[in-house]
């Protein structure tokens, strides 16, 4: 089973984690100003790259905290993990 390095707990089995999709998707600053098109972008459209992808994970069966990871979607290799609020690290796939 794949090990995911929780930035608080260290490496744990993947089954302890919950996936949260793309990271760094901010809630709209002024929601009432958004057009239908912009709402659609926010609600339904996410990056779906073949390669490094910044995404959210929650260590559900451990510390129960959310964190971010950069994972290569082709190999499932975790290239970096970092805490919420930290900038996305530079990675090379």
């Amino acid at each position: 089973m794949q090990l995911i390095p929780c930035p608080w707990c260290g490496p744990r089995e993947e089954a302890e984690f919950h996936y949260g999709g793309q990271a760094h998707v901010a809630y709209p600053g002024d929601p009432s100003a958004l057009s239908d098109e912009e709402w659609a972008r926010y609600v339904f459209f996410r990056e779906n790259p073949s390669g490094p992808f910044a995404e959210r994970w929650s260590h559900n069966a451990g510390c129960r905290r959310w964190f971010n990871a950069v994972r290569d979607t082709r190999t499932h290799d975790l290239l970096a993990v970092y805490r919420v609020g930290e900038p996305m690290p530079e990675v090379t796939a």
Partner: protein
Amino acid sequence: MTSPPGAHLPEHPDFLWDNPEPKSSYDVVVVGGGGHGIATAYYLAKVHGITNVAVLEKGWLAGGNMARNTTIIRSNYLWDESSGIYEHSLKLWEGLEDDLGYPILFDQRGVLNLAHSLQDVRDSVRRVNANRLNGIDAEWVDPAGVKEICPIVNTSPDVRHPVLGATYQPRAGIAKHDYVAWGYARAAHALGVDLIQNCEVTGLETVQGRITAVETSRGRIAAGKVALCAAGHSSVLAKMVGLRLPIASHPLQALVSELLEPVHPTVVMSNAVHVYVSQAHKGELVMGAGIDSYNGYGQRGSFHIIEQQMAAALELFPVFARAHLLRTWAGIVDVSPDASPIVGLTPVGGLYLNCGWGTGGFKATPGVGDCFAHTIAHDKPHPFNEPFTLERFTTGALVDEHGAAAVAH
């Protein structure tokens, strides 16, 4: 002097299709040589007389999800929009063997969609009623009825997820996925379509908002129209023209057991426990799982998904306890937000999109091939795929099929 090994064997039979060098230009280039791509090319040639067509496949023909699905065919979806296209497809399946002149082992052995909770029961009965209003065969069966249709299902009330009943579609069934692809490929080839393998599209060329060519690993190919049938890789292709899609690519795993005597007469699907099972003609139990939660392009998934799937299968079918696993695999499925496909025009002139079928594209192969070919030929959606636009995510006219699709397409 001895003869070389194999000299006594008969000549290799004729190939079902050729492997031509790509021409410099085609009227229509279909990207993706899976079931949908080949079927689209076939109907373009057969129905619309457009034969200057190439299907470009980056790997080998029908080696992606067409080789990896669990071959379930049914049309018991909830909404009118879905009923339209899936039932159209099922009707084409019913005549496909004759149409293609090729055996596809289409077997209408029925499908049971199990209900395990009061909410499941209510949703299922509603879906049966909706199906009947749309002229689709559907009935509600109680646990005794489930036992009668499929005697090996555990209908005892003292399990974690007891079977409270099921929807039953008698006209549903399975087909031999490889034969379907080969039948379409053979027929498309006979009509003049070029099937080009080992040809990866690396760029899409546009001039003033209109598609003009595709760049490939085997050179530039000019195209009057380009049709994307790339399932899990649709986002990557669409991005080449700056088009974002509301889909996520996930691994979806399936597995087969060793060959067994016939024990399973139908198809059984259970959303609640995340498994769907049938028995292939030659005897393997074919079981599909739910998608892996994370995005992935690697055609493999996580082991704990298989473990959960097996636990579910054993609870439903205690008789499987001694069966041995033969192999597992994964395909990359393109999951859309409303569990319905995206089939139609794009903001780029001459570029057409067919994706978002998620875990359930196989059953749609003839239907979407027919409708997508119509869309390409007329530059206008066929009535059956008109509701499945990319714009619906902006207008809000979603076709929410999570209930009928869920884990188990």
